[in-house]
Amino acid sequence: MIEKIEIKKTLKAGKNIWEEGTILDRKDGPFPSDILEEVRLNRGTVEVIERSEGISIGDIPKIVVDNSNPTKVSNIITNSNVEIKSQPVVLRRRKL
């Protein structure tokens, strides 16, 4: 995950200006989409100067699943970006 981006050339998108030498930090808010586009294009206008090694458990928003409703649980799995190799037997189990 990108933590810090340094602006190597003064960038302009509409009225937004990011001056050369500015360092954008993820802690100050999400990176502007135009800056992320520059990262993707890799044309020397920005440089990613810090990345985090991995995602810690604390960074992932907690999802509370109510397993009383099998259809609801199934929908959550379908709509999320989680691949389940085996049948989610435990999640489908009804309350005793």
């Binding site: 050339k9 003064t10 960038l11 302009k12 998108a13 509409g14 009225k15 200006i17 990011w18 001056e19 050369e20 030498g21 989409s33 135009d34 800056i35 992320l36 586009e37 520059e38 294009l41 890799n42 044309r43 020397g44 206008t45």
Partner: protein, 438 residues
């Protein structure tokens, strides 16, 4: 019957100098003719530049002393003048043809050739001067060789907020492009920072096409809006893009939009064998003027065949060019060559400027003295060789463009060039790079 070379009228110095002065101001080179020139007392050029400078005298109580003031935003700069020269050899066969009697055709051919070669030399020298102006305006500086082979860089210190690159989808031609808004911002920035009114915009035909193809500009130029319906096809169009830049200039209220498509060409010999299908590094005699993301043409001078490759990086220390992928054929050292053509004005930039502030030109060319006679400006001389008999003709010049008002220029990088999409990094390694400006 005259036998010495001194008797050949076409090779007398005053005649050579006359040839040179005939080509002094080539009409196709625009940037070097945009500003004036003056002599510098030494080859170390000193100048002061200004930012802002619209102060106002303060109120003071009657009977109290005047507060002391000094000009704001003044910076002093110092840089060594750049020096460039080259010579061309004319052998005895050519000289004999020049004075052969009774063969009017050959005589005229030789004179024509001499004139053509001299014009070529002068144009090459002037293109170097033009290149320096282009680098100052579009790239904020350039590198050049100093005494002892050291590479220097001159940095004109145009403020970074006057050199903007459009980001993401705001690039011209993309979904969020706002060309008129970007030009308004440029006008306002220059006006607020130095008080100048933008009177010149310079781009090449690639950027003109972006302006002419913009939906907003086209809509405004329709007959039922603010235009006369003459953006295209009414005469006065650009050589490559049919659009008339003057129509856009009137809409944007910029007195001059110069669409400048002049190019320069760099050639160099290959110095070690380039193996087809394997090597991606080309060794050349001099790599200093080649630039990354431009197309280089590799010539087989025996067969006349060639291959084009994009340069990914330039190593000026080892004189090597990295190309995107290997050539299909092999090329021989010392026999085959590479060539690169490039526009003085980049394909993806437009510059707006106010050419004078309060009646003073924002830039100037400083001529520096050179040679034993402290000559100024473009000069030519000759040197005779005894064996093999022949003559060298030399053209040389020394000077530096300087910028007095750093905030009167505003450049926008409006797009990504096609070649720049080839992803890589430039490795211009040189252990002798120094910066000479303050």
């Amino acid at each position: 019957m005259p036998r010495g070379k001194a008797d050949i009228p076409e090779l007398r110095l005053e005649v050579l100098q006359n040839f040179i002065t005939q080509f002094m101001s080539p009409p196709d080179l625009m940037l070097m003719n945009l500003f004036g020139s003056s002599p510098s007392p030494s080859s170390t050029v000193k100048w002061e530049s200004m930012r802002g400078g619209r102060g106002m005298t303060p109120f003071v109580a009657p009977g109290s002393p005047s507060p002391r003031t000094a000009p704001f935003g003044i910076a002093q700069h110092i840089a060594e003048a750049a020096y460039w020269k080259e010579k061309m050899y004319f052998d005895e066969e050519f000289l004999n043809n020049l004075r052969k009697e009774g063969t009017e055709g050959e005589y005229l051919d030789s004179k024509t050739r001499l004139a053509r070669e001299l014009a070529g030399l002068v144009n090459r020298s002037n293109r170097r001067k033009e290149w320096m102006f282009a680098q100052m305006i579009f790239n904020n500086g350039f590198n050049y060789m100093r005494k002892g082979g050291y590479m220097s860089s001159v940095d004109y210190q145009i403020p970074s907020d006057h050199r903007v690159t459009l980001a993401g989808n705001a690039r011209w031609g993309e979904t969020a492009a706002n060309i008129i808004g970007d030009i308004r911002d440029a006008k306002r920035k220059v006006k607020e920072d130095c008080g100048g009114k933008i009177n010149y915009a310079i781009c090449n035909s690639t950027v003109l096409a972006m302006l002419a193809d913009d939906d907003t500009i086209r809509e405004l130029l329709q007959k039922n809006m603010f235009g006369e319906g003459n953006l295209f096809g009414s005469g006065g169009g650009n050589d490559f893009v049919e659009a008339n830049a003057n129509v856009i200039a009137r809409l944007l209220d910029i007195p001059n939009i110069a669409v400048y498509d002049e190019m320069y060409e760099i050639k160099s010999w290959i110095t070690s064998t380039l193996s087809g299908g394997s090597s991606t590094w080309v060794s050349v005699q001099d790599a200093s003027d080649f630039t990354a993301f431009e197309t280089v043409r590799i010539h087989n001078n025996t067969t006349g065949a060639y291959e084009d490759r994009v340069i990914l990086s330039v190593d000026t220390f080892t004189n090597q060019l990295q190309i995107e992928y290997p050539t299909d054929n092999s090329y021989k050292a010392g026999l085959d060559s590479v060539a690169m053509r490039k526009y003085f004005v980049p394909d993806n930039k437009i510059v707006f400027m106010s050419t004078s502030i309060d009646g003073e030109a924002i830039a100037e060319y400083k001529q520096a003295p050179f040679g034993l006679g402290r000559q100024y400006g473009l000069q030519t001389d000759k040197h005779e060789e005894w064996d093999p008999e022949g003559i060298f003709i030399r053209v040389r010049d020394k000077g530096l463009p300087i910028l007095y008002h750093r905030d009167a220029i505003y450049s926008i990088e409006v797009a990504t060039t096609a070649a720049a999409s080839a992803t890589s990094t430039t490795t211009t390694s040189s252990s002798t790079t120094t910066t000479t400006t303050a």
